[in-house]
């Protein structure tokens, strides 16, 4: 499949004077996981709400197509193609988990028999069989989130929006949820995921867009994003102090760690830079005992791009460790 599940151009939204989305473009290929990463208030939920037809796009927005349907012209067709699990649990707390599932089956116009079958399958798959007869309001956070996703899956949507699916979950429930999301993708479903956890985007997403103040600050795979930010370095470790000294003189711009017999060179980790370093070592006839490339992690990317004050950059951290 080569089509785009989501294609949005110049998405805008403002509430009064406050601009929430300031013209963002998104294209999400079918069958991939796309993550919107950003701090609170960056516009993640607003984006999901617009793409899922919950709120209307602001004036001046460009064309938005979801599942191949024009959002403005045919919102019902969009709705038929999508499933949404919002940030706040979209379950009916007054009725039981099973009744919630059957409600969804009815609203998707499944026959009574199909509705019961799908409900039983999904309750089983999401480990909710035991709790099925209890009111959803008595569920734990993780259970409620699982029920929420199970309800979303009743209509077999091709595109699923998950707005901060793991916020507020304990680590076990969180990993559980990650597993669920991975399984969705193997079924060929397109997932648009918002998160404020970089680790989560790194784990799950094929592509990541970093959202900051209503704009996309950067977009790419996790690795591409990490390369954007300076602060990566190459670390060379030696066992022989003499070789260490020789290397320190042969290479320029090194940060020395005499105790550890380790040298650090700033580098983006690209092939060209690595070759240059290796060439210089070869010319001097030096062989390092260990060579590691450190790329900045997504936290560095995130803070560099979203401009959070008071957070040390990667270079600061490196200096500290080198001292």
């Amino acid at each position: 499949m080569t089509g785009l599940a989501i294609a949005a151009h110049g998405l805008r939204k403002a509430y009064g004077d406050k601009t929430v989305l300031d013209g963002i473009d998104l294209s999400v290929p079918e069958g991939t996981v796309f993550s919107l990463l950003g701090p609170n208030g960056a516009g993640k939920t607003t984006t999901v709400n617009i793409l899922s037809t919950l709120i209307s796009p602001g004036p001046g927005s460009g064309e938005i197509r979801v599942g191949g349907h024009d959002l403005a012209a045919d919102p019902q067709a969009v709705r038929a193609a999508i499933g949404v699990t919002g940030q706040f649990s979209a379950v009916d707390g007054l009725i039981t988990g099973e009744e919630n599932m059957l409600l969804m089956a009815d609203l998707h116009h499944l026959s009574r028999r199909d509705g019961r079958r799908v409900t039983a399958e999904l309750l089983e798959r999401f480990d909710l069989v035991e709790a099925a007869g209890k009111p959803a309001s008595t569920y734990s956070g993780g259970m409620r989130r699982r029920l929420d996703i199970a309800m979303t899956l009743v209509g077999s949507p091709r595109i699923i929006f998950l707005d901060e699916p793991t916020t507020g979950l304990d680590p076990r429930a969180r990993h559980n949820m990650w597993q669920i999301i991975r399984e969705l993708v193997t079924d060929g479903i397109t997932v648009l995921l918002t998160t404020q956890y970089l680790e989560e985007a790194d784990e799950l997403a094929d592509r990541i867009a970093v959202l900051s103040n209503g704009r996309i600050a950067a977009e790419g795979s996790a690795d591409e994003l990490k390369r954007i930010v300076p602060g990566g370095h190459v670390r060379l470790r030696f066992t022989d102090p003499a070789v260490y000294q020789a290397a320190a003189t042969a290479l320029r711009d090194v940060t020395r760690a005499d105790e550890a017999l380790a040298l650090q060179l700033p580098s983006d980790g690209s092939q060209r830079e690595l070759r240059a370093i290796l060439d210089r070592l070869d010319d001097a006839g030096i062989e390092a005992d260990e060579l590691t490339v450190h790329t900045p992690d997504l936290d560095d990317v995130f803070f560099a791009l979203t401009g959070k004050p008071g957070v040390p950059t990667q270079t600061d951290k490196s200096k500290e460790t080198a001292r």
Partner: protein
């Protein structure tokens, strides 16, 4: 599936959901039922002897007063029940499940229609219950024909439909359950300034037009005419007109609020 059958099917699903809520948590409905029953007993047994003195016949005693106030109490029962609709709509709208419904390919109005039909059914059930209490304490209709009973039932249902749509609009406009309960309060207070408990001509002259033309009085007078054989006159079409206007207004108000972007 055609648009109409989609609307019917989704609304029926939403109705089942609302009836399930009402069955699981009957306290709201039962509390609201208490008010008209208490008022009925209060006015009949505590105030009855004094109040009946002001009736046209004069001094005909408690049983005449029962007959006089039952039509008003029945309509007040509806006013009380629909407060429940305002509260449950406001509560529902603050739930995440509504956001889910909005992003599903279902009939847009089905959520509200489910609430309205559910509330009308509850109103009818409440009217039957309160009516049973009235009969138990001595209310008897005077020679009402089957057709008149049917018309009375129809009027009560139509009145319930009208007030429910208004209450749903109030629920949509309210940020939470408390606010919804407050804004729907007039629906149970209006009967107090109608001909429910005292004849209009016993009220101050300047106030009489207000009492006479507010929605409850024509409906009460029509119901009285149907069940007790009093003069209906222009109150019949006035009551029906009020119901249709209120239902249309409430419907437009509610659906427009629902179509608006949620906050």
């Amino acid at each position: 599936m055609s648009a109409v059958s989609l609307a019917v099917r989704d609304s029926a699903t939403m109705l089942r959901r609302n009836l399930l809520h009402a069955r699981r948590y009957p306290s709201l409905t039962l509390n609201l039922l208490l008010t008209p029953v208490m008022l009925l007993l209060l006015f009949v047994y505590i105030f009855g002897n004094t109040m009946s003195a002001g009736l046209a016949g004069g001094g005909s005693g408690r049983s005449a007063y029962i007959a006089y106030i039952v039509p008003g109490i029945l309509l007040m029962t509806i006013g009380s029940t629909v407060i429940g609709a305002a509260v449950s709509v406001a509560t529902d709208m603050s739930e995440g499940i509504i956001a889910r419904f909005r992003t599903m390919a279902i009939h847009r109005g089905s959520v509200l229609i489910g609430h309205v039909v559910g509330s009308v059914l509850q109103s009818v059930a409440s009217v039957v219950l309160v009516g049973a209490v009235a009969v138990a304490i001595g209310f008897r209709s005077t020679d009402a024909t089957a057709l008149e009973w049917l018309a009375a039932f129809g009027l009560l249902t139509l009145f319930a439909l009208a007030l429910t749509w208004i209450a749903v609009g109030m629920g949509m406009a309210s940020p939470n359950a408390e606010a919804a309960s407050n804004s729907a309060m007039p629906l149970i207070l209006l009967p107090l300034i109608s001909s429910a408990f005292t004849p209009i001509d016993a009220m101050p002259g300047w106030f009489q037009p207000i009492a006479e033309y507010q929605p409850f009085t024509p409906a009460i007078e029509t119901l009285r005419g149907l069940l007790l054989g009093t003069e209906i006159g222009h109150n019949g079409w006035l009551a029906v007109a009020w119901c249709l206007v209120l239902a249309a207004l409430g419907y437009r108000w509610s659906t427009a609020s629902f179509r608006r972007d949620p906050k």
